[in-house]
Amino acid sequence: MNAPQTKPFKAGDYRSDLTPVWCPGCGDFHVLMSVTRALAELGTAPQDVAVISGIGCSSRIPAYTNCYGFHGVHGRSLALATGLKVARSDLTVMVMSGDGDGFSIGGNHFLHACRRNVDLTYIVMDNRVYGMTKGQPSPTTEPDWDSALSPGGTGLSPFHPLVIALASGANFVAREFSGDIKNSTRTIIEAIKHPGFSFVEILSPCVTFRPDEKEWKNTVHKASVDETDDPARAARRIMTDDGMNVGILYRGNRKPYKAHVSDRIDDMAALESEFAIPPASKT
């Protein structure tokens, strides 16, 4: 199934004909474009790609692609994708999530997917809000953002998903802005190609509940330093940056997860012999 493609693919080959439920202007439209372009450039046939997600506006993305997809339950996409990739190492497995799905309810799987370092590409469309449930603060929301659930703001500082990824063992860490399709595409390509667990946070504005985020196109800027393969250095940099610098921030050499399932079916007899007790010799 993984034979090299002769016919070149176009981005459109990776799009289904379903109309997204997204609001006009939602950043996720751009992420969808970047992903399909990246896949086309890589040339992996649509049927050899699986896009796994949870629940949220962002998590609606699998059905908008023409790949295999799984729109699972809220927060569990990384676990589902891990099982899939270990069972089917021949597939390109993308995991696509939101800041609520991925960092709030899904936080534990994030930690352990990084640690396990299975060869997955994890893209989080971070809009610093729960879009689908109509505007509650997420783990990346600013402390003073006003909402019905937290009038006047939560008072909580957003945390650093990229540093958490580094501290947990991710092998590739990047941040992009959805509106910058060119760089997003390039980074997604690199993330897919890099072995082990690759994490790309894409700042993707929620124009409906966070209209202020339309400003992001003016505030993001390229990281001022080059990517590193030293996780400690990368972590320190990210903890002190303004959360708006984009680019590949870390490309590591950590060992990817080893176990996988093969099509080999061995003889069961050896397995069963451990239970056997030979009959007593006649006495």
């Binding site: 295999y68 699972g72 927060g75 569990r76 676990a79 099982g83 069961m268 007790i277």
Partner: protein
């Protein structure tokens, strides 16, 4: 083996001692040696709350025929020492004509035991052990047990050699010498508990636990992927599966929690590999949301729940049948799925293998309700036959159709499933209500259609005659399920010896409920005794919900940890008959 006329068909033995005394090792060797002699039997371990170093007991029952359940009372108690004697007294009552062997050096015989009037024989186990270079008192105890039971010494020696060989030849030697010293003590005793030779001589026996059997059933059924998070009393399934899967081209992933493990197996199965996880009540509770996902997205998975005392953390090391409700009714929304319960330790193999087959055939989650009393019991069984149940999924072969409808409405409710990699089969699996194509929908027709489809595929499947074990014929029927079946079978055998015939209907397939088969099996019934190991009577309520029980019903149930035994069941029946 030469046997006296007084030899019996079943001997039950308890070997107890404080932590480190080696009671469990002695029990294991004894059981295996019996197997080597062609006997049947089983063993349970009972330990205190300590992680290590607490008191421990090996509870064995050795029979000349296949054995169904543990003893309710014991013929022989060998006490290497008397620490925590009060626990023993409650957990392992002695028969009135029972025999106690103990070491006078390790304290007084506890009152609770001394008062019962059983025969008490004192043997200086520690001293005897000291006389052997490298000797240990548990091996003396082993010799004593073997002697009293009249076991052939060759079987014992063979097992000792095999089990201790990696510790060095001198340990094996010391073990052999201790055993001989122990056996030598027996001739001087007044009473013997000789066991009859096995019914079938020369058969190969397997020594296996229910947890190992479940693991093997999964692999035999075609499982090649497992993900799990350790939990008592299910961990042994995982520890058995991990190397077994590596050897058969598969893999086990240790997940960070049960939310993860259930989703990992959904992912692997979506990828086309039959997959399993194992857990116990608390873990099953965490998996419930995603079992609903597997039902809605039609991904086959198998979840083995080795039940323990509940609710909440409950009693992790003891058995109960009280996860029936959550297994059948636990999901939110209407999410029909399969629930299967093994009826014996050996049946853990068959039932799990069958569950894999059912899950794959119907693209549905299947829950296997084993429990601690099956999972952690070590049992001597006949080598199990190979059965034909294999994972066989209805697959979309690719390419031919205009639009591939993953959730197409079909005659049997099962829709061909495209496996990633198949050109033309691309679809998105979804837990949202969806159209036949898989597109999210809130249309009433889509919702109704897909709910109907998922109900029908499970309701109309041909489960053959595996839905229950129906045995005997009588207008008095015991209806039970899962692990309770063993005690019920033994009770029925006992009653039959008394001239009372009782029919057994033991449900293996819990959900869907086979109403027609069940009522057919109960035709002509006057009295039904419903048996289960729960506090609230979950099984009884379930039966009531599913059908009108067509006879007079009595209900005998109790929570763990005290297992309902055959004699108690006999009493229920006898009382009813004489009432």
């Amino acid at each position: 083996m030469t046997t006296s006329q007084t030899a019996s068909e079943s001997v039950s033995v308890a070997i107890v001692g404080s932590g480190g005394a080696g009671a469990l090792t002695a029990g294991s060797i004894l059981l295996a040696a019996c197997g080597k002699s062609g006997l049947y039997g089983n063993m349970n371990r009972s330990v205190g709350p300590q992680i290590r170093g607490g008191e421990a007991a090996a509870l064995l029952r050795i029979c000349s025929h296949p054995v169904d359940c543990m003893s309710e009372s014991y013929d022989l108690l060998i006490a290497i020492d008397w620490n925590n004697a009060d626990r023993f007294a409650a957990e392992m009552p002695l028969k009135p004509d029972g025999l106690v062997i103990c070491d006078p050096e390790s304290g007084e015989v506890p009152d609770a035991i001394a008062k019962t009037g059983v025969s008490i024989v004192e043997v200086n186990m520690k001293d005897l052990a000291k006389e052997v270079a490298g000797g240990r008192e548990n091996m003396i105890a082993l010799g004593l047990a073997a002697g009293v039971m009249g076991l052939p010494i060759e079987s014992l020696m063979a097992i000792v050699s095999a089990k201790l060989s990696d510790k060095g030849e001198h340990i094996v030697e010391a073990g052999r010498n201790c055993i001989e010293a122990g056996i030598a003590q027996v001739s001087s005793h007044a009473r013997s508990l000789e066991i009859k030779p096995p019914e079938k001589q020369g058969d190969g026996r397997w020594l296996i636990t229910g947890n190992e059997a479940a693991g093997l059933g999964a692999v035999r059924g075609g499982v090649r992927f497992a993900a799990a998070y350790p939990i008592t009393p299910a961990t042994e399934i995982l520890e058995w599966l991990s190397p077994a899967l590596s050897k058969t081209g598969g893999a086990l992933v240790q997940a960070e929690d049960e939310l993860s493990s259930i989703n990992m197996i959904i992912g692997a199965s979506y990828g086309g590999r039959a997959s399993v996880t194992a857990t116990s009540g608390p873990g099953l509770a965490l998996m419930i949301e995603s079992i609903g996902l597997a039902a809605a997205s039609e991904v086959p998975i198998v979840v083995v729940d080795v039940m323990r005392g509940g609710p909440s953390t409950g009693i992790p090391t003891k058995s109960e049948q009280s996860d029936l409700n959550i297994a059948v009714y636990g999901c939110h929304g209407d999410a029909p799925h399969i629930v299967v319960a093994p009826l014996s330790v050996a049946d853990c193999l068959f039932s799990t293998q069958w569950a894999v087959h059912l899950a794959e055939a119907m693209q549905s989650p299947a829950i296997v309700l084993s429990d601690q009393s099956l999972g952690q019991a070590h049992v001597l069984i006949d080598q199990p036959a190979n059965v034909a149940f294999l994972a066989q999924r209805k697959i979309f072969a690719g390419g031919q159709v205009e639009t591939y409808n993953r959730y197409a409405l079909t005659a049997d409710g099962v829709s061909p499933m495209a496996i990633p990699g198949t050109p033309g089969g691309q679809y998105t699996a979804d837990g949202l209500t969806h159209s036949q194509k898989g597109t999210p929908s809130s249309k009433k027709s889509d919702h109704q259609d897909q709910l109907d489809k998922r109900r029908d595929k499970i309701a109309n499947f041909d489960y053959g005659n595996h839905w229950a074990d129906v045995e005997g014929d009588s207008d008095m029927v015991i209806v039970t399920w899962g692990s309770m079946t063993g005690a019920a079978r033994e009770a029925i055998r006992k009653l039959s010896a008394e001239g009372v015939s009782v029919k057994l209907v033991a449900l293996r397939l819990i959900a869907p409920f086979m109403k027609d088969n069940f009522l057919k099996a109960l035709e002509g019934t006057r009295r039904i005794l419903v048996l289960e190991q729960t506090h609230s009577g979950q099984f009884h309520q379930y039966l009531r919900a599913q059908c009108d029980l067509p006879a007079e019903v009595r209900h005998f149930h109790r929570p763990g940890p005290h297992l309902i035994g055959p004699e108690e069941i006999c009493t229920q029946i006898r009382d009813w008959i004489s009432a």
